[in-house]
Symmetry: C2
Subunit: 329 residues, 2 copies
C-alpha cells in the first residue's frame, strides 16, 4: 500500500495534491475490537473520491469474516457492480504457458449479485442431517447494466469482441436470463462481435488460446474464478489489478490488487507491489487522470521488461522507488 | 463409441462375452420424438451392469434440454454421487504448460448435489423486472459419503494427499459444511495429508504447480470447472475420461468422456476416441476387471508416446484399431 501511494504522489507531482485518510481495518482491528467495517467508517468513506484497498485476510480470522464483513460489504454497500479486471501479459514477464501467447483481455465481472449475495442458510447445523443452501440471485436490472458496460468497453477497443461466460446448460434460469439480456443489448452494439462460452470450456481456452479473448462479461462467481486463472497465465497474482466500479459515481469506486494479503511474507519486504501500483493506475483513470494512468502503466511495463533482463531481486520498497522514479522522470 | 466397444471386445477376448444394448438418445431422438430419456429406457438401463455414454449435445437443441433431460437425469436417477475424473499427463503428450510438469491427480467431484440440483426459478420472466435464482443444495449425508470415498482413494495412493476445494470464504454455509465434514472424516484417515484451497486459488495452482495435487474432492460445479481445466493442462479434452459412480452398486455406474459431442467434426473421422477408450478402462476396473483395465491404459499410454514420435494423423477408427491391436496382442 505504501508503494502504491508513493507512485500516486510521484505521478501527480506538485500540481495535484492528494488528501488521503487511512483506515486501519482488517484482521488487526477485528482481533482488537471485533469490528470489521463500522457504520461510521462506511459513512465517512462516502466522502472520498476513491478507495484504495490493501489486500485483506489472515489465517487467524475465521474464513468469511473479513471477506463478507469488510470486502464484500464495501462492494455491495457502494454498489460496485462493475468489477473490472484487466489481464495482460507484459513483455518480459514469464507465463506458465508454453509459447508466449499474446494475452490482453479484460474481464467485466458482475459485482453485486449471483452467489455472492449472502442468501443462504443451514438447517440442523452440525448434525448428520444438516442441509446448507446458497442462493444465487440474478436480476434483469443488475445484469443489463453490467452487460451494457461491457459492450461499451468492447466497442472502445480495437478488436471489439465480447464473450459471455456462464453455465446456461445447467444453471438454466440464471443462465438464460444472462444470455437473453446479452443478446438483446447486443443489438445496440452492431459492431461488437459476440461469443458465448460455458465457464468450464472458458477455462480450457484460457490456457490453450488466451489470445481469443478481448472483453469477457460474466457473473460474480465465475468472474472470481476466471480472473485468478487469468492472473496466473499472465505471470501471477502479484501483477493483477482490479477496480470495483460504481459507474454512476454515486459512491466511491474501490481499487485493489486481486491477490490476498500473503500473511506468510508480511513485513519481509518480499511482496511485489506491482498489482497495487496497477490498481492505482486504474484509480487515476477512473478519476479522469488518463495521462497519469498511462504513465504509471508505462512505468510498470518498462520496469517488468527490465526485471527480466537483470533478474533483480528488489525489496517491496525498492520496486516502489523504481516505479516512482520512472513516473516522475 | 464404436472404438470404445472395439477395444472393450478386444481386451476381454474370447473368455468374456459382452452383451450390449444400444440406446439412440440425444439430439436425433429429441428432434424426432421430443423425448430425452423416456421412463422405459431408464427402467431398462437398471438391468445393465454399466453404461457407456457417448458425448451428447448439438447446437440445434436448446441449451440445457439434453444436459438436464438426459445426462444429469441419469446422474441423479442412478445416484452417481462419485464423479471420478483422473488427470494424467501421459509421456509424449504436449501440455500447454511450459516445462512439462508431472501431472497425476484425480478429482472426486460430487455428482448429485450443489448448484446442479435444478432448484431455481424465474419471476417476471422476460420482463425488465425478471429475477432468476439458482439454489445450491448441500447435505451432510451427500457430502460425507463423497468425502469418505475421496479419503479412501487418497489412502490407497502412494502420496496419500487429499485437497478440498470450495469457496468457504463467500459461500459460507455450504463451504463450512464441506469443511467441517472434511475435517471430521479426516480423523478416520490419519495417514492422509490434507489441504484446503479456495476454488479461485486452485485454478492458479493447476497451471503453476499441478504436481502438488494427488486427490481433490470438491462440489459439483467446482468439479465441473476444475476438471475441464485439468483436461486442458494434461493435453486436452480429447484424452479426459470420467466415471459417474454409484459406489454401492444399487444402480449401474456410467462412464463417459469429459468432452462434448463436437458436432463440427461429427462423421469426419477426426475425433480422437482416446477419452472414450480410457472411460472403458474405468468401466472395466469398476466391474472388477483390473488386469484388463490396466492393459487398456497401458495401450493408450504406449499409443500416445508413439504418436508423439510419428506425428501420425490417423482417423478415429484407425486409432481404435491400433488400440484394439495393442490390448489383444
Ligand atoms: C476474498 C474474496 C472474498 C474475493 C472474492 O471472492 O471476490 C477475492 O477472491 C477476489 O477475487 O476479490
Ligand atoms: C454437459 C454438462 C451438463 C456437463 C456438466 O456440467 O457436468 C459436462 O460439462 C461435464 O463436465 O460432464
Amino acid at each position: 500500500m505504501a508503494e502504491g501511494l508513493k507512485v500516486l504522489d510521484a505521478v501527480l507531482g506538485d500540481d495535484v495534491s492528494v488528501e488521503t485518510t487511512e483506515y486501519d481495518l482488517g484482521a488487526r482491528r477485528w482481533h482488537a475490537t471485533g469490528e470489521t467495517l463500522p457504520d461510521e467508517v462506511l459513512e465517512e468513506l462516502k466522502g472520498h473520491d476513491a478507495i484504495l484497498l490493501g489486500a485483506i485476510g489472515d489465517p487467524s480470522v475465521p474464513s468469511g469474516v473479513l471477506e463478507r464483513g469488510l470486502l464484500l460489504k464495501l462492494r455491495f454497500a457502494f454498489d460496485h457492480h462493475v468489477n473490472l479486471r484487466p489481464s495482460k501479459l507484459f513483455p518480459g514477464v514469464e507465463s506458465p504457458l508454453a509459447g508466449k501467447p499474446e494475452i490482453d483481455f479484460v474481464v467485466v465481472r458482475e459485482g453485486t449479485e449471483g452467489p455472492y449475495v449472502g442468501n443462504g442458510g443451514s438447517l440442523r447445523t452440525g448434525t448428520p442431517h444438516e442441509v446448507a443452501t446458497e442462493v444465487s440471485l440474478n436480476t434483469a436490472f443488475g445484469i443489463e447494466r453490467v452487460v451494457r458496460d461491457a459492450y461499451a468497453r468492447a466497442q472502445a477497443r480495437p478488436r471489439r469482441k465480447l464473450t459471455l461466460v456462464h453455465k446456461n446448460n445447467v444453471l438454466v434460469h440464471a443462465g438464460h436470463l444472462w444470455k437473453n439480456i446479452f443478446d438483446k443489448v447486443g443489438e445496440e452494439f452492431p459492431e461488437v462481435t459476440t461469443d458465448y462460452l460455458h465457464v468450464d470450456a472458458a477455462t480450457i481456452f484460457f490456457v490453450t488460446q488466451p489470445e481469443r479473448f478481448d472483453v469477457i462479461v460474466t457473473d460474480n462467481l465465475f468472474g472470481d474464478i476466471l480472473t485468478d486463472l487469468a492472473a496466473a497465465v499472465t505471470g501471477g497474482i502479484g501483477l493483477a489489478a482490479s477496480g470495483n466500479i460504481n459507474p454512476g459515481g454515486q459512491f466511491p469506486s474501490m481499487f485493489e490488487p486481486v491477490h490476498g494479503s500473503a500473511p506468510d511474507i508480511a513485513g519481509t519486504g518480499k511482496a511485489d507491489p506491482t498489482a497495487t501500483v496497477l490498481s492505482v493506475a486504474m484509480l487515476l483513470r477512473h478519476l479522469g487522470f488518463d495521462a497519469e494512468a498511462a504513465r504509471v502503466e508505462a512505468a510498470v511495463s518498462a520496469d517488468l521488461a527490465e526485471r527480466a533482463d537483470t533478474q533483480s531481486t528488489r525489496t517491496t520498497s525498492q520496486t516502489g522507488d523504481a516505479l516512482a522514479a520512472r513516473v516522475s522522470g
